[in-house]
Structure formats: structure tokens, C-alpha cells
């Protein structure tokens, strides 16, 4: 039971990550590889806050999101003005620095050993020991995240974003500030990633640098690409399909080392085949520019 709950919590967490990335890729047309870094910032911040300050779960959740957003924007702001390749590389480098800090800033992060013994979350002053109740809490948060993402996409702001993705020059001619829009979608994405990091830390009770490598960024990107860029429904389908494949491979009975490689090959193939044959994904209408 506890294994199933853990997997379900993981799926919720990936939904939040993928929704955030989908917002960025689908609406500003920028492909980011900083997912793992922002996710990791949220995770480490949660671990540190929970270990040293005994703060409330929601305070940490919001702090994780905000902190990830602040750091992410500081670093990616120069690249947000550019399109495409350079942005991708800058976010990749950002991931690199974050990994560097996680492994080398021994006093705070305890390096490769990671931070262990994260206590049960404190919800409104109550210690939440039950795994089931924790799952329900995460489920509610995920539902809220889906709701908010949906609202943002259908709002006037969301329509402007769609316009930006279809033709940014036309939108600029209408007097909209493209860079400001990009920054806003990036902030949205970073907050979602940071919050997912909080969920990860509380679910695993343990964070270490290997959990936040670029493999994780690529995993989330394959989810978004599979489901359909710019489609919330598609993103959730992508999370479900890849989540099942990822867990399924574990139970097929392959040796651990091969299973890891088989999984990576599947993600890679999904990226390649979808780009060639269906760049809009299963449910999306929009093709990445």
C-alpha cells in the first residue's frame, strides 16, 4: 500500500512539474532544461527548512516555489531575451551550477551524502504522520495546480501568451512586452517546479544531488512532448503514460543496470519519434517553433 501511495504521490509531483514546463514550452515557445535545477532548489530548501526550522508545510511549499522562481529568473533573465538554442544552453548551465552547489557546498548541503531524516510535514500545527492523508493533501494541491494552470491559459493573459507563441513580432507590434511575458511564464514554471521539489522532499524524506540531474529534466520534457505541447489534458496523459512505462520497466524483471538504460532509451526514442512524426504530441494542436 505504501508503495502504491508513493507512486501516486510521484505521479502528482510529475504532473505539477510537467504542467509548469508545459506552460513555458507551450506558451512562450522556449524549451528549458532547468526543470531539475528548480525542482532541486525546492527540494533542498524544503529539507533545510524542515530540518532546522520546523516550519508549516504550506509556508515551505510557497517558499520553495518563490525561491526557485527568484533564482531561476536571476540566472535566465539574460537568456530570456533570446530565442531557442541559447536559452536552452543557459538553463542547462544553470542546472550544472545548482548540481555543483549541491555536491560541493558541504556545510549546508552535506555534499553527495545528501540531507536525510526529513520529518513528517507540519500541517496547520499538526504533524501529518499518515501516508494516506499526505497523499490526499498532495492530490488537492495537484488539483489546485491544474485548476490554476487552466485558468491562466483561458484568461486574457493566456490569450496574449498564445498570440506570443504564434507570432511574437505581431504581438510586439500590438504594444505587448514580449520579454515581460516570457519572464512571467518562466516564473510560473519555476514556482511549479519548486513546489514539486517540496513534495519530493516530504515524500522521499531524503534529498541528494543524484535526484536532480538533467535526466530528470529530460524525463519531464518527454512527458510534455508525448502528451502535446500547450495542452493541459495532453500533459496529464503524458505524465500518466510515461509514469506507467517508467514504473512498468522496473517490474519486468530486467537487471537494475539494464532497466535504467532501457528506460532512458525509451524516453530518448519518444523525443526523436514524436519530433519526426507528431511534433504536436498525442493531444496537442500546436507544434514547437
Amino acid at each position: 500500500m505504501s508503495v502504491i501511495l508513493s507512486i501516486l504521490i510521484q505521479l502528482c509531483m510529475y504532473s505539477i512539474l510537467a504542467l509548469g514546463l508545459n506552460m513555458l514550452v507551450g506558451y512562450s515557445g522556449l524549451v528549458s532544461s532547468a526543470t531539475a535545477a528548480l525542482f532541486g532548489i525546492g527540494g533542498y530548501l524544503t529539507a533545510l527548512f524542515a530540518l532546522h526550522y520546523k516550519l508549516d508545510f504550506f509556508v515551505i511549499l510557497i517558499a520553495g516555489g518563490v525561491f526557485a522562481a527568484v533564482l531561476g529568473v536571476l540566472v535566465s533573465l539574460p537568456a530570456l531575451r533570446l530565442k531557442g538554442d541559447y536559452f536552452f544552453i543557459t538553463t542547462m548551465g544553470f542546472t550544472w551550477i545548482i548540481t555543483n552547489i549541491m555536491t560541493n557546498w558541504m556545510q549546508v548541503t552535506r555534499g553527495p551524502n545528501g540531507l536525510t531524516g526529513i520529518p513528517s510535514p507540519l500541517v496547520f500545527g499538526q504533524v501529518l504522520n499518515s501516508r494516506f492523508l499526505f497523499f490526499i493533501l498532495i492530490l488537492i494541491i495537484t488539483a489546485l495546480c491544474i485548476f490554476v494552470a487552466n485558468r491562466v491559459c483561458t484568461s486574457p493573459f493566456g490569450r496574449a501568451l498564445k498570440g506570443m507563441r504564434e507570432d511574437d513580432i505581431a504581438l510586439e507590434a500590438l504594444g505587448k512586452n514580449i520579454t515581460a511575458f516570457r519572464v512571467k511564464t518562466f516564473v510560473f514554471y519555476a514556482i511549479y517546479c519548486g513546489m514539486a521539489g517540496t513534495i519530493y522532499a516530504y515524500n522521499m524524506r531524503f534529498v541528494d544531488p543524484t535526484a536532480f540531474t538533467s535526466d530528470e529534466s529530460i524525463f519531464v520534457l518527454s512527458m510534455v512532448v508525448l502528451g502535446g505541447v500547450g495542452s493541459i489534458k495532453g500533459t496529464l496523459v503524458g505524465v500518466l503514460v510515461l509514469g506507467i512505462i517508467s514504473e512498468g520497466v522496473r517490474y519486468v524483471g530486467l537487471p537494475a543496470s539494464i532497466a535504467f538504460q532501457a528506460r532512458q532509451i525509451i524516453y530518448g526514442l519518444i523525443l526523436v519519434l514524436f519530433m519526426i512524426f507528431r511534433p504536436q504530441g498525442l493531444l496537442g494542436q500546436y507544434k514547437i517553433t
Binding site: 524549451v31 531557442g84 548551465g93 555543483n100 520534457l221 530518448g268 523525443l271 519530433m275 519526426i276 511534433p279
Partner: protein, 296 residues
């Protein structure tokens, strides 16, 4: 220490210059952000390991065969991925994502075929003479390091000559304007294949040289070199090939001076900060004259 850092920097920079030139040729000519370049590098290193250590083939044929293998892999990637994408008139980021996917698939295929552990490259006959230490003033250099520098210079000179040939000029023309090149009756498809073959062979050459110098290969070795290569190309500039080569040497030197002045743990962070500064203040690159086309 200064001379030692300089020696190490030039040796490492040579390896980066080769991969950066290969990447820049593909990027400028086809507009593809060729992520799989790093995996071509890792694959070539494993081919070199197999030829040199397992088959015990002499050094020179091993190097040439490895370059051939790298070039063929480049053409296979073009055939399987880039040509189909070209037929669907895909955008730049689609190429980039597909290339990244290909790079992950390749890296894991290498790990499956050769094992994910680090393998020691043993040179059967030349072992002792190549790793002898020579003194330059207070600094030391191994023959292997010297070999990297010399072979790189020879390779770069060959490419400079090649760029004046009919095929070389065609590659440059295709990079300048692919539509005009096609209208002039150039066989653009063939040139695309040749571009990937040449670029990949350069990565393969770098891979052999580095493997001989470091005496180790592993399946994940393509990732760090890929990042260094991309930083070298962006910092150097993509408008001309010389800029990419200069970028490679610059990154090699900065990395070694970073290790010397700060510490080995933070050299990547230092390079990344430099990358951000260049993107902010001189997006055309330090040695490039005009801004390259972004977001193609």
C-alpha cells in the same frame, strides 16, 4: 605553475577546438543544434578503446578507423533523424529536441554494448614512450599531451585546406544561404551528409586523442564535452569557423586557470558565468562579427 597551467590548457583546448569546430561546421551549415555530437564523441572513444586495447591494432590505423566510424555515425544520424525532419520542414527547436533524444538513446546504447563502467585504455606497444614525462622549464608534459596538440594542429591545417576545395566551398555556401545554393544546382542533400560526416569525424579524432591522453573511456563522457563544446562555440562565435576554434582553446585555458586559481570543483561554474556574460553583452561571440540566426 603558470607554464604548467598553460601547457595543460593548450592540450585540453586542442581537444575542445576539434569538437567545437565539428559542432560549428554542422551548426553553421545546417542550422542544427547538434546535441548528439557528444554521443558521437563517446561512441568514437569506445571504438578507439575496442580497436586499440581489445583488437591491439596499431595507433595510426586505429585513429583513422575511429574517425571513419564517427563520420559514418554522423551520416546515420542525418539519415535517420535530420533528413526526415527536413522533409517535415521542422523548426530549430524540433531539431534540437530530436537531437537530444538521439544523444540519450546513443549514450545508453553505448552503456548497454560496452558496459557503463569506466574502461582503461591500454596501448599495447607504445605504452611507455607515450606517457614519458618531458620537462619544459619547470613544467612537465607527456608525449600523449604533445600528441594531442600536434595532431590537432595538423587536423586544423587539413580542414583549412579542405575549406578551399570544391566540397569545402559548397559547405560554406550552404551555410551562407541554402536556397541560393540549391538554386545554383548544388547537390545540397549530399553536402548535408558530407557536413555531418566531417563534423563527426572531428569529434571522433578529439575522442581518440583524449582517450589516449587520459587512458580511460566511459559511456557518459560525451555529456561534459558537449557542454564545453557548446560554450566554446557560443563564446567564440558561430559566424566563422576560426571563432569556434579560438573558443575551444579559450575554454581549455580558462578551465585550467580556473582550477589553478580557484579550485577544481568550481571551474564549471566559472565557465557558465562567462557564458552568461557573453550572451548578455556580446551574443555574436567574442570572435564573431555578426549575430548568428537564432531560433531557427
Amino acid at each position: 605553475m603558470l607554464i604548467q597551467t598553460l601547457v595543460n590548457g593548450i592540450s585540453l583546448g586542442s581537444a575542445y577546438a576539434l569538437t567545437a569546430l565539428g559542432f560549428a561546421i554542422i551548426y553553421r551549415t545546417l542550422g542544427i543544434f547538434h546535441f548528439a555530437h557528444g554521443s558521437v564523441y563517446a561512441f568514437s572513444a569506445h571504438v578507439a578503446y575496442s580497436l586499440i586495447t581489445l583488437v591491439k591494432m596499431p595507433l595510426i590505423p586505429s585513429v583513422l578507423l575511429t574517425m571513419l566510424a564517427g563520420g559514418i555515425l554522423g551520416m546515420i544520424i542525418n539519415f535517420l533523424i535530420y533528413e526526415p525532419l527536413k522533409r517535415h520542414a521542422s523548426s530549430g527547436q524540433v531539431y534540437m529536441i530530436a537531437s537530444m533524444g538521439a544523444s540519450i538513446v546513443l549514450q545508453n546504447l553505448i552503456a548497454t554494448a560496452w558496459g557503463a563502467i569506466t574502461k582503461v585504455l591500454v596501448l599495447p606497444n607504445l605504452e611507455t614512450s607515450l606517457y614519458n614525462i618531458h620537462h619544459i622549464g619547470s613544467a612537465v608534459i607527456t608525449m600523449a599531451q604533445l600528441l594531442v596538440v600536434i595532431v590537432t594542429v595538423v587536423a586544423l591545417a587539413t580542414i583549412a585546406l579542405f575549406s578551399k576545395s570544391m566540397i569545402g566551398l559548397s559547405i560554406i555556401a550552404l551555410g551562407n544561404d541554402s536556397e541560393v545554393a540549391e538554386n545554383l544546382g548544388m547537390k545540397v542533400k549530399a553536402i548535408r551528409y558530407i557536413t555531418l560526416a566531417v563534423g563527426s569525424a572531428l569529434a571522433a579524432l578529439s575522442a581518440v586523442l583524449v582517450s589516449i591522453d587520459l587512458r580511460a573511456v566511459d559511456s557518459a563522457m560525451g555529456v561534459p564535452i558537449m557542454l564545453m563544446t557548446i560554450i566554446a562555440v557560443i563564446v567564440g562565435g558561430t559566424a566563422n569557423f576560426g571563432a569556434a576554434i579560438a573558443g575551444g582553446y579559450l575554454i581549455g585555458l580558462i578551465k585550467n586557470f580556473g582550477i589553478w586559481a580557484i579550485s577544481a570543483e568550481w571551474d564549471n561554474t566559472l565557465l557558465f558565468i562567462m557564458l552568461v556574460l557573453v550572451i548578455m553583452f556580446k551574443p555574436a561571440g567574442l570572435f564573431g562579427r555578426k549575430i548568428s540566426k537564432l531560433g531557427r
